[in-house]
C-alpha cells in the first residue's frame, strides 16, 4: 500500500478516536485540558504531531495512585462492561492491568497483526501450530484458529522441552509462537540428552517467532545450525506488536493500527528516518483503553523505507529502554550492548545478566551474571567476561557471578528484568 493511502487510513481512524478518547478517558481528558488542546483543534496528522500532548507511564502511575483507579484513567468503559482483566508481564515492575472486551471467543479490540505474521511465516489451514507461552495475556491462540490451524499447547518452561521434541516429531507443526533465548539454549541440551537431532525436530517449522527479549547472537546461530528461521517479535510500546519479515531487517509494525513516532527524548523533535529515538505510540483500534501519544520509554531505530519484502509499513529495531541506560565516564551502556559478550561463553550461554543501576550516571558498570555451575574457576570466568564486556562497551565492568536459577527465578522464564536497583 502506498504511504499516502496508509496515512489516509491513519488520519481517518485518528480523527474518529480522539473525541472518543477525550470524552471517555479521564487521563487523556485531563492531559489535553491541561495542555489547552481539544480534539476539534486536530484536523490532520500534522496537527496531531504538532499539538497533541503526551502521556507517559509515570503519568498513568500517578493517576492510578492519586485517584485509586487501577487503570490509570485510561479505561473508556464502565468496569462492569469488561469481559476480562488481564495484565502485562510485569518484568520491569508491577504488571499493568489490561482490560478487555470480547466478542465471542476473542477480544473485539485485538489487532490482526499476529494473524498476518503467522500467515507470512507460512501457516495454512490444517497445519499444527505450536503455542508455547503463558496464559496471562489471554487467548492469543484464537488467531491461530482464525487461520484454520490447530494449536498444540505447551507451557513456556524448560521442563516442557521433552514434550516439545516429542510432539514436534509426531505432529510436525509448521509454526511456533513463542520461543525465547532460554528455551533455545535449553532445547540444544534437551536434544543432546534425548539423543535426537535438533535439525529433525525443527524440520517441519517454516519459522519460529521469538519474543520477550531480543534474539541473541548465540540463539540465532543455533537456529541457523538447525535450519530454521527465527522471526523476532517485539511490542510496539504497549500499542501492538511488531515482527520481522523474511528480510530479517527490523520488526514491521502495522501502521493501519498504530501511529508510531520516534522522537528525540530531550527535545521531542522527530529524529531522522533510520536513526535512534524514543518510540511514541497511538493505538488506533483499541477502544477499551486507548493510548494516545504514549511515551513508551523504548529507544528504537525506526525506518519507513520500503522493505525488501515489499511492505511499506515501518520497521523498528529495539535498542533498549530509556530507563535502562547507564552512563559511566560519559559512555552510554544499555543491556543490548553487553548481551553478546555474556552469552559467548559456554558457562554463561543462557545470556542471563542484570545491570545494577542506582541511577543513570554511575561510577562503575556493575553486572550480575548467571552461570550454569560448570566452572571450577569462577575468577577465571569473571576475567573472561570482563575482557569481553570491556571490548564490547569500552567500559571495564565489575562482575558478580550467581547461579542461573537465581536469575530465572525472577522470570517469567522467557525474560528477566535486565536492570536491578541492587
Amino acid at each position: 500500500m502506498a504511504r499516502a493511502d496508509l496515512e489516509a487510513i491513519q488520519e481517518a481512524k485518528l480523527l474518529d478516536l480522539l473525541p472518543y478518547a477525550y470524552e471517555r478517558s479521564a487521563l487523556i481528558n485531563a492531559t489535553w485540558t491541561e495542555a489547552g488542546v481539544h480534539p476539534r483543534d486536530i484536523k490532520s496528522l500534522d496537527d496531531f504531531r504538532e499539538r497533541a500532548p503526551f502521556i507517559s507511564k509515570d503519568a498513568i502511575r500517578v493517576f492510578r495512585d492519586d485517584k485509586g483507579d487501577p487503570y490509570g484513567g485510561l479505561l473508556c468503559f464502565d468496569e462492569s462492561e469488561l469481559t476480562a482483566i488481564t495484565s502485562t508481564s510485569g518484568t520491569t515492575g508491577d504488571p499493568t492491568l489490561v482490560p478487555e472486551v470480547w466478542g465471542g471467543e476473542r477480544r473485539e479490540d485485538a489487532t490482526p497483526a499476529l494473524v498476518r505474521e503467522f500467515y507470512e511465516i507460512g501457516t495454512r489451514p490444517g497445519d499444527y501450530f505450536t503455542c508455547i507461552l503463558f496464559t496471562f495475556r489471554g487467548a492469543f491462540f484464537a488467531m491461530v484458529h482464525s487461520l484454520g490451524a490447530v494449536p498444540v499447547f505447551l507451557d513456556h518452561h524448560p521442563g516442557e522441552l521433552r514434550r516439545f521434541v516429542e510432539l514436534s516429531l509426531e505432529l510436525r507443526p509448521t509454526n511456533l509462537y513463542n520461543f525465547s533465548n532460554v528455551l533455545i539454549s535449553e532445547l540444544a541440551r534437551t536434544c543432546e540428552e534425548m539423543k535426537v537431532d535438533p535439525r529433525d525436530v525443527m524440520s517441519s517449522y517454516h519459522g519460529i517467532v521469538h519474543g520477550g527479549e531480543p534474539l541473541g547472537t548465540r540463539s540465532r546461530k543455533l537456529l541457523d545450525e538447525w535450519g530454521v528461521a527465527g522471526f523476532e517479535h517485539t511490542a510496539v510500546g504497549d500499542a501492538g506488536a511488531a515482527t520481522e519479515c523474511r528480510e530479517h531487517d527490523g520488526c514491521h509494525f502495522w501502521e493501519d493500527s498504530v501511529i508510531a513516532e520516534h522522537l528525540d527524548p530531550d527535545n521531542n523533535e522527530t529524529v531522522a528516518d533510520g536513526t535512534r529515538g524514543e518510540l511514541v505510540v497511538t493505538a488506533l483500534d483499541n477502544r477499551t483503553m486507548p493510548l494516545v501519544r504514549f511515551r513508551s520509554d523504548d529507544l528504537v531505530d525506526l525506518t519507513r523505507e520500503r522493505c525488501g519484502c515489499g511492505r511499506t509499513h515501518g520497521r523498528i529495531k529495539t535498542a533498549g529502554r530509556k530507563g535502562d541506560e547507564v552512563v559511566i565516564d560519559g559512555q552510554s551502556v544499555l543491556p543490548m550492548d553487553v548481551w553478546e559478550a555474556i552469552e559467548r561463553f559456554d558457562e554463561t550461554a543462557m545470556g542471563l545478566f542484570q545491570i545494577i543501576r542506582t541511577g543513570q550516571q554511575m561510577d562503575a558498570l556493575r553486572l550480575r551474571v548467571g552461570h550454569d555451575g560448570s566452572t571450577k574457576q569462577p575468577d577465571e570466568l569473571s576475567d573472561r567476561l570482563m575482557g569481553a564486556v570491556t571490548e564490547a562497551t569500552g567500559v571495564t565492568p565489575e562482575i558478580e557471578l550467581v547461579p542461573n536459577d537465581d536469575l530465572l527465578r525472577l522470570g517469567p522464564p522467557h525474560k528477566i528484568p535486565r536492570v536491578a536497583k541492587r
Binding site: 487501577p70 462492569s80 469488561l82 469481559t83 476480562a84 482483566i85 488481564t86 495484565s87 510485569g90 508491577d94 504488571p95 492491568l97 470480547w102 471467543e105 499444527y128 503455542c131 508455547i132 507461552l133 503463558f134 496464559t135 496471562f136 495475556r137 489471554g138 487467548a139 491462540f141 484458529h145 490447530v150 494449536p151 498444540v152 499447547f153 505447551l154 507451557d155 513456556h156 518452561h157 516442557e160 514434550r163 510432539l167 505432529l171 527465578r409 522470570g411 517469567p412 522464564p413
Partner: protein
C-alpha cells in the same frame, strides 16, 4: 476425520499425556464448564481469577468461555511458581468472588514471596483448589472446595461440600482398588476408556442437595 480444536494435555500422576480435542469435544466441554461455573456460585457480574497453564488449555479455555457466557468477569494468571506474584497482585488490586485452579506451584511461589495464604486468599469467598493445594489451604485455616483434575476432566465441588461433581453426560466414573477410572460416554478425539486417573477416592451417585444429579468424587486424603 474429526476436525481438531487443539492438542492439550492432562496429567496422570507424574505423567503428562497429550490430549487431542475435536471441535465437537470442545463445544460439549463448554457445556460441562457451564455446570462447573454454576456449581461455584458464579453468576453475572461475578469476578473470577483463573489459575492455569497453557498446556491445560483444553480444560481451562472452556471454563473461560463458560465465564464469558455467564457474563462474569475473569482474570488470568499462570498456575506456576514463577507467576505467583501475579495471583497476589490481582487479589490485592480487586475483589474476586472465586479463585479457581489453585495448585501447589502457586502456593510454593507465595511461600517464596513470604505471603501467607489467608492474607492473599482470605477475601475471596470461594477458593477452588487442586489436590495438594486443597490440603495446604485447609491447614492454613481457609475453607477451600475441590477443583479436582480427574484425567482430562475437572471435578468441581459445590457449596454442599459433599464431593466434586463430574459432568455425567460426558464421563462415566468407576473405581478399582480405590482408584477412580474415567470413561468418555461420547466419541472424542482422544480415546478415554477406563483410564486409571491416579485419583484415589470414592464415587457418590446420589443426587446432590445442590440439585445436580452428576456423580461426585470424594477424594481420599
Amino acid at each position: 476425520m474429526t476436525e481438531l480444536w487443539g492438542v492439550g494435555s492432562f496429567a496422570v500422576g507424574d505423567r503428562i499425556l497429550p490430549y487431542p480435542v475435536s471441535k465437537d469435544d470442545h463445544n460439549r466441554d463448554i457445556g460441562s464448564a457451564m455446570k462447573a461455573v454454576s456449581s461455584l456460585g458464579i453468576h453475572e457480574q461475578s469476578r473470577a481469577l483463573v489459575l492455569s497453564m497453557l498446556s491445560e488449555a483444553a480444560q481451562y479455555w472452556p471454563v473461560q468461555i463458560g465465564l464469558l457466557i455467564t457474563k462474569a468477569q475473569f482474570s488470568l494468571a499462570d498456575a506456576s511458581r514463577f507467576d505467583a506474584f501475579r495471583t497476589a497482585m490481582f487479589l490485592k488490586a480487586m475483589h474476586y468472588d472465586v479463585v479457581l485452579g489453585i495448585n501447589t506451584d502457586v502456593l510454593d511461589g507465595l511461600d517464596d514471596l513470604g505471603h501467607s495464604y489467608p492474607d492473599v486468599f482470605g477475601k475471596s469467598p470461594v477458593l477452588a483448589a487442586r489436590a495438594g493445594a486443597y490440603e495446604r489451604l485447609r491447614d492454613a485455616g481457609l475453607s477451600p472446595r475441590w477443583w479436582l483434575h480427574v484425567g482430562p476432566t475437572v471435578a468441581v465441588e459445590c457449596d454442599q461440600l459433599a464431593g466434586a461433581h463430574v459432568d455425567g453426560n460426558e464421563w462415566q466414573l468407576d473405581v478399582a482398588d480405590g482408584e477412580i477410572l474415567l470413561t468418555a460416554r461420547n466419541p472424542r478425539a482422544a480415546v478415554v476408556d477406563r483410564l486409571a486417573t491416579g485419583v484415589r477416592g470414592e464415587i457418590v451417585t446420589d443426587a446432590c442437595a445442590c440439585g445436580r444429579e452428576d456423580p461426585r468424587v470424594v477424594p481420599r486424603d
